[in-house]
Amino acid sequence: MAQMNMIQALNSALDAVLADDPKTLIFGEDVGYFGGVFRVTDGLQAKHGLTRCFDAPISEGGIIATAIGMGAYGLRPVVEIQFADYILPAFDQLVSEAARLRYRSNGEFWAPITVRSPYGGGIFGGQTHSQSPEAIFAHITGLKTVIPSNPYDAKGLLIASILEDDPVIFLEPKRLYNGPFDGHHDRKLRTWAGHASAEVPEGLYTVPLGKAAIVREGADVTLLAYGTMVHVGLAAIEESGIDAELIDLRSIVPLDIDAITASVTKTGRCVILHEASRFGGFGGELSALVQERCFYCLKNPIERVAGWDTPYPHAFEWDYFPGPARVIAALRRTMEA
């Protein structure tokens, strides 16, 4: 067991699958010799060989298209899109091809691809290095979307995603790469060192998709979150003194609906938290599901805490980011209303 930050954990996952399965290969912009702009593929080319981990042209559509073709051949490609904001040029490939191949061909072909991409804000990346596009993937039938919140899960979920025979969008909260960020941007940076989930086994292990984690048990209100927001939510709960149950969804498709309904049935209150803009975000789906399934248990309106309905604004990062203060306010509202 070693202490790893999230980058190391992801690297370790990729290293393990490359070693285990010659049909796995990695490509993407700057992932080869250099090891990726966030260093997630560092050393993999040198260790596993030139064709196992290599640079791709700046062409997200071409990257996903060729990955699908490789998948159809029988390989298990893992591609990196440098920032989730740049998945969009490949959106048609993901929706019209990767997500639909199995269904339309009645199982003759499928796309066992994993699309890794750093996402989310908190690093002063401005409009196009900060966005959280998970909602547009969640709506696409045939795509799975996974979002880890800590090193242990990151490795286990990534391996599980690669082993999936369905296409997986694997969004890595870039603000968590080096430490568990709780939204207090003005406080001292924390690293993963000493964090329980930074104890990461060597070798292969999986964390199953579709199983949420109860990060903190609580009686009074259910807080649903994923990615960076898990840590923000935890900080908010602790600071608020409210006995909230914090659920880390870990994957939004498949969604652990049982964990959600069980918790809200118990607490009767629900706050949903994500970084993406609120309108049309994944919080809407979560709210609708909770309302449909737990209506008679709900004591108060379900709250959504999310980014504002504006583009991601560089100078106003901390005004935009749904930090602990806004979560606390929502928790209070839902307790009091």
Partner: protein, 409 residues
């Protein structure tokens, strides 16, 4: 006073619209045999003239001439002729089936049959083609059961794709035929990825991607060519230039400026411009490109110059946007007639045998259709509605399980 030139926006227009006299003078057609055949490993700089010539083998008298001609087994040619005729007979029949309400949609490849058929016969059984909707001949040439094609077109209970796909958007892995979809262009890069995978695995198989000339304008085209060139993928990338994209003539895709084969030069790839209505030329060009691919020389772009004789699909009436007699002015003739004439010139075929074959194949299609009709045409028969909920993922998740229950099955 302003003596600058006033800018103006150029909108390409075809040479003739309905009521006008068709012409194909703008299509540059060298004589059969005129375009040279470089060695497959010629330097790129020595192949830059190819996109401006045209690989043609059959001359006006049906003789095979020039550097791309080779000794071919007459039996191979007869099989090609047979598959082309079979394709045509089949498509005519399905077109009528649409009129009879037996299917929601159909598309024909009339006049373009040589391409899919000849390439299907030239490539190996375990190569993979990434088709467009206009190469049904590929499947027919490989003996895919016609009744299964009709079942798919009918979306009936025996549809191999379980009613999930629009008619003619087949998938037939065992026949080297990748899953089609309604979006044009978006599988072109899959061909490159598949070929890269084959190279990665040190395999021998190669891929063939098809795209219409209109669709070359999509970003997918460029991305596929870029990856193919960069990684020297063992792939053949084929542009079927049938002059039209629904109502839009090839000038709107760039044909006023240059040939589609010339796109290859920009990537440092060889680009062949080939008489797509000349079965022997299609075979020769495909062999040349396949040899390149199989010997790690990388990708080849081939433009097949052909003509879409029919409307775009059953939803289309081409007389609305082009002269109704335009097809008869097409200078490269009919691929079936040309191969037939060649075989007759070789003494390997006759009008009588042709008629007999035609009758046989018509009967075969009729039999297949009867079989499919017995299962049921569109609306009369369909797969179990359970199929609607299957295959979204490898294993269904709670959403489709609940919804199937809500639906009541």
């Amino acid at each position: 006073m302003d003596d600058r030139v006033e800018l103006s926006l150029h909108i390409p227009e075809p040479f003739a619209r309905p009521g006008e006299t068709p012409t194909f003078d703008h299509v540059d057609i060298p004589a059969a045999g005129a375009t040279r055949r470089p060695a497959v490993d010629a330097a790129e700089v020595d192949m830059r003239d190819l996109p401006y010539g045209m690989v043609r083998v059959l001359d006006a008298d049906g003789r095979a001439v020039g550097p791309w001609a080779s000794q071919m087994d007459p039996e191979f040619l007869r099989r090609g002729l047979r598959a082309m005729v079979q394709t045509r007979v089949f498509e005519d029949r399905m077109f009528r089936a649409h009129r009879q309400g037996k299917t929601s949609f159909f598309m024909k490849s009339t006049g373009e049959e040589a391409i899919g058929v000849a390439q299907s016969m030239t490539l190996a059984a375990d190569d993979m083609c990434f088709p467009t909707y206009r190469v049904q001949g590929w499947l027919i040439a490989r003996g895919y059961p016609i009744v299964d094609m009709i079942n798919q077109i009918y979306s009936n209970a025996s549809d191999p794709l379980k009613g999930r796909q629009l008619p003619i958007l087949y998938s037939a892995r065992e026949y080297g035929f990748y899953s089609l979809s309604g979006n044009v262009g978006s599988r072109f890069g899959h061909a490159v990825g598949w070929a890269m995978a084959s190279a990665y695995m040190k395999d021998h198989r190669i891929a063939l991607g098809y795209i219409g000339e209109g669709t070359t304008a999509e970003g997918d085209f460029h991305e596929a060519l870029t990856f193919a060139a960069v990684y020297r993928a063992p792939v053949i990338l084929a542009v079927t230039n049938n002059q039209w994209a629904i109502s839009t003539f090839s000038g709107i895709a760039g044909a006023e400026q240059t040939t589609f084969a010339a796109r290859a030069i920009g990537y440092g790839l060889p680009g062949l411009r080939v008489d797509g209505n000349d079965f022997l030329a299609v075979v020769a060009a495909t062999e040349w490109a396949a040899t390149r691919a199989r010997t790690n020389l990388g990708a080849t772009l081939i433009e097949f110059v052909t003509y879409r004789v029919s409307g775009h699909s059953t939803s289309d009436d081409p007389t609305k946007y082009r002269p109704s007699d335009e097809p008869v002015h097409w200078p490269l003739g009919d691929p079936v007639e040309r191969l037939k004439q060649h075989l007759i010139a070789l003494g390997e075929w006759s009008d009588e045998r042709h008629e007999q074959m035609q009758a046989e194949l018509t009967e075969a299609v009729r039999t297949a259709q009867r079989e499919a009709d017995a299962v049921g045409a569109l609306g009369q028969s369909k797969p179990s509605a359970r199929e609607m909920f299957e295959g979204v993922f490898k294993e269904p998740d709670w959403r489709v399980i609940e919804q199937r229950r809500e639906f009541g099955i």
